[in-house]
């Protein structure tokens, strides 16, 4: 147990040095960094414009008003951008397996998943984070809910949500260890993310159960937003968000280790 704790502490300490190296690498090309992120803002505004255009015509989705839908939407892209910024290198697992770069990570005294994730910081997704923050700030204003507690809660929810997204993408990309070509699974994970964009109760009962208890993407936006709305009926679900996030992450990590075992050829 002491050994384990020490090991985790070592990984956390090292993360700073990885971050530093990643940040310096990004800064090696300042101009592309800026232009890519400006494009990133346009990209995110494109998806926000889609919601905005929709709401020039319609006044509610199901029973949810415009500011409520905006907060759910904002939370979903907040979680997603946090995931995207820090976990983007997961998308390279398939490439790493194909080219053998994954072997390099296996001959270092560190956790391989940690090395994949720590090895790169996204260069073009800071715009999405910015857009998410603007959306959340605006919707909180419209709802009259700009309190310190709400903002703190949004932060907790965002981190939990990013863990939920990360879990799905860990599973999707770990498929590369079985099938080498995993782009279908990767895009499946991206598609599942889409569930989080809209209020979870627009879906039928079956789907709602799945996105709550099996692939809990509804916890990346819909349930945590209920705390801000002060919705008594779903308050307990809202508060369960961080716990659910940790649980699904543990499952995803277990799957990753099994997939690695298969790649390394355990028991075949």
């Amino acid at each position: 147990m002491v050994e384990k704790t020490k090991d985790v502490a070592r990984h956390v300490r090292l993360y700073y040095w990885y971050l530093r190296a990643n940040w310096l690498s990004l800064m090696a090309y300042p101009v592309p960094f800026i232009t890519m992120n400006l494009a990133g803002v346009v990209y995110s505004l494109g998806s926000v414009a889609t919601v905005w255009v929709l709401f020039t015509r319609i006044h509610a989705i199901g029973d949810w008003t415009f500011p409520q839908v905006l907060l759910i939407y904002g939370l979903s892209i907040f979680s997603r951008s946090l995931f995207h910024l820090f976990w983007v290198e997961l998308m390279s697992v398939s490439w790493m397996v194909r080219t053998g770069h994954i072997d390099r990570l296996l001959v270092r005294p560190l956790n391989p998943l940690y090395q994949v994730v720590a090895g790169y910081l996204d260069d073009d997704d800071w715009g999405e984070l910015l857009t998410a923050l603007i959306l959340i700030w605006t919707s909180l204003g419209m709802l009259g809910q700009r309190t310190v507690w709400n903002i703190l809660w949004i932060l907790v929810a965002g981190i939990s949500g990013s863990l939920i997204f990360a879990s799905m993408h860990i599973v999707g990309n770990a498929m590369a260890f079985f099938t080498i070509e995993s782009s279908g699974f990767t895009s499946l994970a991206w598609t599942i993310d889409e569930f989080a964009r809209y209020p979870a109760d627009i879906y039928g009962k079956g789907v709602r159960t799945v996105i709550t208890w099996v692939i809990p993407v509804a916890f990346a936006s819909f349930y945590p937003a209920q705390l801000v709305f002060g919705n008594g009926a779903l308050m307990r679900m809202a508060l369960a968000t961080p716990v659910i996030a940790l649980m699904i992450f543990a499952c995803a990590y277990w799957f990753w280790t099994k997939a690695m075992d298969c790649y390394q050829g355990v028991g075949n």
């Binding site: 070592r10 090292l14 040095w17 990885y18 190296a21 310096l24 690498s25 090696a28 090309y29 080219t99 053998g100 770069h101 072997d103 390099r104 296996l106 001959v107 270092r108 005294p109 560190l110 075992d261 390394q264 050829g265 355990v266 075949n268």
Partner: protein, 287 residues
């Protein structure tokens, strides 16, 4: 004083056969499953629904022992099983059957423990941080291997000196030539004082001068008592750096002995290792 204790403390014992075994491999096999593609249009589409597989024996009963401080060359054609062997010894792959121990532990079961004591260099697959000065790669790797500040500085300075890369330390890796990159990679491989080093085609694509520098460095490391496992196509590398050579073909070891023995076995008069090896291959193909 107890002699076994002596030899364990110091890997530089005078008689090679008395040294501790560092790598022990017994009856090692490793199989792969390969998906078969159809030839014709109909076949391609039908195998989409019902795939067929073929099993390949990458390693088919390999045994050898390598003792501390030995320097061993590992040769074979492409696909003979060289890389598979190295991956198994590094803990990347798990054997299908057989026994493998490196420094007393099974590499796969104790992957991180093994990782701290071995070094691996794969030719043309750099571990340098691409956009950053070389120095940053050293710093990060020193931290990854938990080296104390003193050990880190001492090792780094020694390697920088030995490989003559002092001038490159502040250059971003992407601006280095292949030879420069290879030397930096080699230094990174030795940074944490590994007891065993696996080199997979370290001199691939390099010019004569760059090769010479690398061979000299490896010879010096051998003198320091590092066990070297060198897989290479370049027989000159092997002749200069190693004192024992193993020839692997279709997943089996065909020969294991000194360079002289190899020549003797194949007819004696052949002075060039390359011819010797070629003859061996031909016999293996016929047999």
């Amino acid at each position: 004083m107890n002699s076994t204790l002596m030899s364990r403390r110091s890997p530089y014992a005078p008689r090679p056969d008395e040294r501790d075994p560092v790598i022990v491999v017994e009856e090692l096999t490793r199989h792969y499953r390969v998906r078969l593609d159809g030839e014709r249009f109909v076949e391609k589409v039908s195998r989409f629904f019902k795939p067929r597989y073929r099993y390949v024996k990458a390693l088919d009963g390999v045994s050898f022992t390598i003792r501390a401080g030995e320097s061993v060359g590992y040769i074979g054609l492409n696909g003979a099983g060289k890389s598979t062997t190295i991956k198994i010894l590094c803990g990347v792959l798990v054997p299908t059957s057989g026994i493998v121990t490196v420094l007393g532990v099974e590499p796969y079961r104790h992957r991180t423990r093994n990782a701290r004591r071995i070094g691996l260099m794969m030719g043309q697959r750099t571990q340098l941080l691409w956009d950053l000065p070389v120095r940053e790669s050293f710093d990060l790797l020193g931290r990854i291997y938990d080296l104390s500040r003193e050990t880190y500085r001492a090792n780094r300075d020694r390697l920088v000196e030995a490989l003559d890369i002092g001038d490159l330390m502040d250059t971003p890796a992407r601006m280095l030539s292949l030879g420069q990159k290879t030397r930096c990679d080699l230094a990174l491989t030795f940074l944490h004082d590994p007891a065993v080093v696996f080199l997979d085609e370290p001199t691939i694509g390099l010019d004569i001068l760059a090769r010479e520098k690398i061979r000299d460095f490896l010879k010096a490391e051998k003198k320091r008592g590092v066990t070297i496992f060198l897989a290479s196509h370049d027989l000159d590398d092997l002749e200069i750096v190693t004192d024992r050579v193993m020839l692997v073909h279709r997943g089996r070891i065909l020969f294991d002995g000194s360079h002289e023995e190899l020549r003797r076995v194949t007819g004696g008069s052949l002075g060039i290792l390359e011819d010797t090896v070629r003859r061996f291959y031909r016999e293996a193909e016929l047999g």
